[in-house]
Symmetry: C2
Subunit: 326 residues, 2 copies
């Protein structure tokens, strides 16, 4: 076994533009059927309440396979600990040997999730983004914005969340970030969600809502929405009629999205057909499948696929090797 890396060491090895590129490649491999991803494993605990996701898989014929564990224990803040934790394990596909333990505390999961948002925006957003809208105030709300900096030129951003104090806290924190200051982005709180939806043409929803937040009639022509909150049964951020109204609905994984993403309700209720959903990897490979007109409404439904974990873990290993070689 070659190395055990802690979070601070891992952070030094991740380059955001490169990560976005690797995640893009990963989605293409996935949609090409070149990734072996068994069903997600789950463990649920009641007292205290906790959920554990176990994702694993490999690119066929690759050097590595990867297992990722990510946990959420919702009462952790009561004892001064973050809700999320996790690690990734990298193994040799030739011998089964464990090559690398990444004690990333769920940071790599956050990063690969944000990278998927950037990939979706790159391939689906309108050519000109005049205002970015971020719905939610958690880790992903901030990271999604940070990653979009690499994808879109934009001077204005609105933020909305249920809790106005958290919105203000997030805006102040973002304004202090050097990366955001360099970007020259002006960030403001939206007085309500309707304002945000009507004024923004690139919207990212990052909440764990279990009831639709954005209605079909709120959304203007030319808007792209990336919904990345729904990653399990019962979660929903978009009105299913919005998916029916959209010109394009793109899933990171069609099978996962019709099971537990935004697409699940829309397909179940007969508002869209499964066959009308595109898969992100195919859109990346065939730009003609994506947005073709500025006035189209596009939706990306992201549930998180193990190929993202495989790609980021491999990227960290390569960066570590490159460092060791110098």
């Amino acid at each position: 076994m070659k190395a055990v890396l802690k979070l601070d060491e891992i952070k030094r090895l991740v380059d955001i533009p490169q990560l976005i590129h690797e995640i893009e490649i990963g989605f293409v491999l996935y949609s090409d059927g070149r990734v072996n991803v068994p069903p997600v494993g789950f463990l649920h605990f009641d007292d205290p309440p906790g959920d554990v996701h176990i994702k694993y898989g490999s690119v066929v014929g690759d050097e590595r396979y990867v297992l990722k564990m990510a946990s959420a224990f919702y009462k952790n803040p009561d004892v001064g600990k973050p809700v999320s934790d996790g690690l990734m394990l990298v193994f040799s596909q030739r011998t089964g040997a464990l090559e690398l333990i990444l004690l990333d505390e769920c940071w790599l999961t956050d990063m690969r999730t944000a990278a998927a948002g950037a990939v979706a925006a790159k391939h689906l957003a309108a050519r000109v983004t005049h205002t970015i809208g971020i719905v939610g105030t958690g880790v992903q709300a901030r990271l999604q914005l940070e990653f979009l900096r690499n994808i879109v030129e934009c001077k204005r951003c609105l933020v909305w969340g249920r809790n106005a104090i958290k919105v203000q806290g997030m805006i102040e924190e973002l304004r202090r970030r050097e990366s955001i200051r360099d970007w020259g982005l002006e960030i403001q709180a939206a007085t309500n969600l309707d304002t945000l939806v009507s004024q923004c043409n690139l919207i990212v929803t990052t909440t764990s809502s279990d009831t639709p937040l954005i209605r079909a009639d709120q959304v203007r022509k030319g808007t792209h929405i990336t919904a990345m909150g729904a990653d399990d049964h019962g979660k929903q951020e978009l009105d299913a009629r919005l998916l029916a109204m959209a010109d394009l609905v793109v899933a990171d994984s069609i099978s996962q999205c019709i099971d537990h993403g935004e697409c699940s309700v829309a397909v179940r209720d007969g508002l869209i057909r499964e066959s009308s959903i595109l898969e992100l990897g195919n859109v990346i490979k065939n730009p003609g499948m994506g947005r073709t007109r500025e006035d189209q409404i596009t939706i990306a439904d992201l549930t998180g696929v193990a190929i993202q974990d495989i790609q980021i873990a491999k990227m960290v290993e390569h960066a570590l090797r490159a460092n060791d070689d110098h």
Copy 2:
């Protein structure tokens, strides 16, 4: 995260009699429905051929949950590496925090498997074992015998395997072991399997055979057989009619054994009913359910259950803590 232990450190923390006891407790917890064990995860590779098992679970209300990975890459000996590898991870059930990484290289899996054989013999073998029969020459063949030392008094052992040279090698190696010498056990090669089955009243089969090795008509009254080779679809060591003839058929996990253990063929072919199979944890708890007469034929069908991984991992952690306290 508290510690990463390597194999040599782990070996110093495992006490065999205590392990047998912990595995016994584990089977009772399992049969009492107090263990949460999701289905086993699998990864299969073709070139080079490799199988990975991912087992995870927890005792309800316990301090810990455990994930175990065990791999078999069959061409590893070509590059001078053992076929099997693996590790165990121990997490807090209160916070999801990773507490311990056990880089056991599959040794803990071997040990907990051998312990299950000892538990089965303890509760099902006749009061007097005159001759032990070991079928197979691999790691488990040796370990099963080593563990039986803690359970039965016996002065004679016969070994049979398809490859006579391997049988001889194994016998010579066992004779050199201090633990076997202390036991005073006389170990000989059986000239054929029929001799072994007719002369032994405690038999352990440890092969990866996919065709039945032991026939119903070979087995004498009073014999106990533990079959632990079949741990996946297509493997079988005992003639299904032997299960029909036996007075007691005991499974480590009824659901696993009717899916891919010795019981699967017998149930599928209508030779035994699922309702007639006992579960090991229930036999441990209710001795009256086990062997009641010396002339009974009993069979234990062991497929390996995640509770065994949970129990051995927790035991190692406790031993580590006890060491740290001194």
